[in-house]
Symmetry: C2
Subunit: 228 residues, 2 copies
């Protein structure tokens, strides 16, 4: 049987929701996501890196209800609140549009770049649901090609779960590490991160060795005499 | 097993949604219902029957996205749109508050009176989901005591499903009908509705008689000679 929402084959038939409540939740989402950001908007956002692309309209009420950072900005009547124009730094028009759209619909269609950018934006504006969503995407789409970039980004934002997942992929491919361009750059830019990779590898390696030693070497009397 | 949302005992274990999508739908509802009607509102509604009770704040963007009637009102820049004040006729403050709250949350806690009033308001403003919700409540809470009132209300709004359900309850209790005050009033006010009750009863009764006749009487030659 296939799930009508994500088209996966069912992993679990038993949920803690009856069929009627399940239908009800879906209908509620459809009802609640009807609000259009452009309709009677009272604030516009600009991507400051991409200002020529035009404004992204929105509503203060929606922004403050989804983000504590916007709440502080508007409720304290900061300049942005009074002018009705907010410049968002270090973000593309595409990312800003996707970010605002997520605040209205709880939906976004991610690719790797958008997931990186939205993860950063979600952290900045404390939109936990979007941050979790991007984190999940980044972890489940980790591979050898994107692992070093993802690892670096995750470190910049202390995303422990992504760091751990990326380290697993990297240390699975240690024989290819030194040939990567990103590795050379990382050594120059942030040697601490390279040390962490090696230490993670050593830690895994020593566990293996320990297991192997325990299997192959005869038992020693660890309570033997100490000689000074 | 109990449903975590409505606490019913599960009727069906198999839904067409996997466990992860089910959790996702619930989380989306929680995320999307965070908007507060009073936060940075750009319009206020008054219950014209109950104006002293004060305004109900809202946002044009939410009203137009949930109701085609509000959409027409605001997009055509009618007086209400320009002034930012809407007077809603023939409605109590309590009903208006519940109506606006439903537009933001898709939730309402109904009792019989509120279900009647919101059903009427949902029809007037074409909020289909609220209308369906009230209709479901009214049908499932039908009993002999409220059946005549519900029947009359349903007729005023051509709610076929409620009319049929109410007629079933009424015609199940025909022996008590004439002693009801509402019956006497209905005869004076809208005799057509009383005729419909009797005709529905006769229609049920004649089917019973026909069944009884078919069981007890000997078969007749229906192709016998016609005598003029």
């Amino acid at each position: 049987m296939k799930c009508k929402s994500c088209e996966c084959s069912f992993q679990e038939f038993i949920t803690d929701t009856c069929k009627q409540c399940d239908e009800d939740h879906k209908a509620k989402v459809a009802f609640l996501t009807a609000t259009q950001p452009a309709s009677f908007s009272d604030v516009v956002l600009f991507a400051s890196d991409d200002e020529a692309a035009g404004p992204v309209p929105a509503h203060k009420a929606v922004l403050v209800s989804r983000s504590p950072v916007f709440r502080a900005m508007f409720e304290n009547e900061m300049e942005e609140s009074l002018s009705g124009t907010i410049k968002i730094g270090e973000v593309s028009y595409r990312t800003l549009g996707a970010f605002v759209n997520f605040l209205y619909t709880a939906e976004v269609c991610l690719d790797q770049q958008l997931a990186y950018d939205l993860f950063v934006m979600a952290e900045k504006y404390q939109v936990q649901r979007l941050k979790d969503y991007c984190q999940k995407f980044l972890v489940s789409n980790l591979n050898w090609d994107n692992s070093l970039l993802t690892y670096t980004l995750a470190h910049r934002h202390n995303a422990k779960q992504i760091i751990d997942a990326a380290l697993t992929v990297i240390t699975d491919n240690m024989d290819k590490l030194t040939s990567r361009k990103e590795y050379t750059k990382l050594k120059e830019k942030d040697p601490q991160l390279v040390f962490e990779i090696y230490e993670a590898f050593l830690s895994r390696h020593s566990s293996f060795s320990f297991v192997r030693m325990a299997r192959t070497e005869p038992k020693k009397n660890i309570m033997g005499p100490f000689i000074f």
